[in-house]
Symmetry: C2
Subunit: 316 residues, 2 copies
């Protein structure tokens, strides 16, 4: 099967929301008046962002999920996306489930694949997602204020724990491994929560490079510091059963979590919990924003330590 047939069969779908869908030089669509367009691109490379062991359906899901997670962190409503795909060969057994996983998530968020590109090359997926947000209402990294509470959605660290199993550093019982592997391969973008936090959160980011690194982005942009309460960090029972140093490593520097890290005035705590309930996702207060710069953490024994607010560097 050639390139055009492969695309036609697996990636071309009706796109009723777009003014012009895939198949011409550009896709066309309309942004509602008073709305700003929110755009984000993420590239997934085999061996870096996913292992060759990932089932293609989960890979399709994840490639879109990590992009939707960026929209979520802006409080934007997803509209459409493009996919550029480099494949080692035109392999339908790989492409068909990839497309299924991709469209299953797209359908749940009511968004359309409006264009893209396919080429031969080392496996690489590049998705650009577009959303809209009322002018002035986007959640930014720069709005955290001293005294704000620091919140996290869902749970942290399972994706990193799964990676350690794949690396042979940790052994888990099969059902435990399946659970954390799902967190790594099928992250759930917190789009509904991002929308519910508009007008409520003072800043937000999605945790993709590890809590410390992504918190660091908020702190630098907002010119504030933070005190993190380590025992409050939400984690799975599987991770909670691991030795504490590994737990902390996974929770603080794990990466691939795709949870929303956000701040809100302490007076709005009840509204934040309500927003979490509306979005059907747990939200947990994990610390407080401070006027003094820097990041310090209080551990299980009440000891304070200063932490470096740095994340994952793809080239380090």
């Amino acid at each position: 099967m050639g390139e055009f047939e492969l695309i036609e069969r697996h990636f071309v779908r009706p796109t009723p929301r777009a003014a012009l869908g895939p198949g011409d030089d550009c896709a066309l669509f309309t942004v509602a008046a008073g709305q700003q367009l929110a755009v984000s691109s993420d590239m997934l490379v085999e061996g870096r962002h996913f292992l060759s062991t990932v089932p293609p359906a989960r890979l399709g899901h994840k490639a879109l999920a990590v992009n939707l997670s960026d929209l979520a962190a802006c409080g934007a409503e997803p509209l459409a996306f493009t996919l550029a795909l480099a494949l080692p060969r035109a392999d339908e057994a790989f492409v068909a489930p990839l497309a299924q996983g991709l469209f299953a998530l797209a359908d749940r968020h009511g968004i359309e694949l409006v264009g893209g590109d396919t080429t031969a090359g080392p496996l690489n997926l590049c998705i650009t997602v577009m959303g809209q947000v009322p002018a002035g209402q986007a959640l930014l990294r720069s709005g955290a204020r001293p005294g704000d509470q620091l919140w996290i959605s869902g749970r942290l660290g399972d994706a990193r724990l799964a990676l350690e199993v794949f690396r042979g550093q940790v052994a888990l019982a099969a059902p435990d491994f399946e659970a954390v592997r799902l967190a790594m391969e099928c992250p759930e973008p917190r789009v509904a929560l991002g929308l519910a936090l508009r007008g409520l959160a003072s800043s937000a980011i999605d945790v993709s490079d590890g809590l410390l690194g992504d918190l660091g982005h908020i702190l630098r942009r907002s010119r504030v510091g933070a005190r993190l309460h380590l025992p409050a960090l939400p984690c799975s029972a599987v991770l909670a059963a691991q030795p504490r140093p590994l737990q902390h490593e996974c929770l603080l520097r794990g990466g691939d979590d795709y949870e929303l890290l956000f701040t809100a005035p302490a007076s709005r705590a009840a509204a934040v919990r309500e927003a979490g309930a509306r979005a059907a996702v747990a939200v947990t207060p994990i610390g407080v924003v401070t006027a003094e710069p820097g990041l310090c953490a209080v551990d299980e024994d009440g000891r304070e330590q200063v932490l470096p607010a740095r994340g994952f560097d793809h080239f380090a």
Copy 2:
């Protein structure tokens, strides 16, 4: 130098047109009322879309040029772009000129890099470009009508001739090689021409996979045929000096031309020439649209032959 420093130094620029530029989870910008957003993505893979011999500044230029070419083929005004970049290593000697070539072209078109992604991996550039076009005025592939003239901008075939030199199949004198190499490595997107053709061209596409293949897209979408006049195809003196079979191969199946192939009513020929003059690019009539499907070509000796309207398949 780490990932963030490398991005900060070479890719982060002021973005006065964007409501929010790079550095947050999404970029934000406003699409004018009554305008539709035009979006296109292209991925460039080393060894497929460029050779390792390409100077990085030209690669930066080309990665954006091929995307702008898609906007041109829609008649859209460029607004902004995102760049996702996979690099084998954080090599400033490569990244600095790459960024220079990219921004030099971006600046000429008044567009801003509003976001993207950097990662380690086999060299791969994925650009998504966004433009705007008044609702209903986009140039589509589907509007060609029997009797329309078929036009091409600029010249065809030099990029393919350069590729044959790199492949060792053709030998050229050094200045001739430099000239065709420039066509391959530094294509000029016909944005101004695309804008000038709004309301004038009945269909348009950019020639990236070879004239026959891309003409085939117009013919299928428009449910028409075409008669191509081979001696009319515009080519450089360097290509004109090659044996006729090689000439025809380069002109018809060359690819990487990034010229606009478009149709317009014969009655509008003078206006089309004027549009070319305004955009400072040659426009040449190369045939006519026919009601009978299929593609036939009349060669230098007046002989007719039926041609397959198929282009380059990345997996063939």
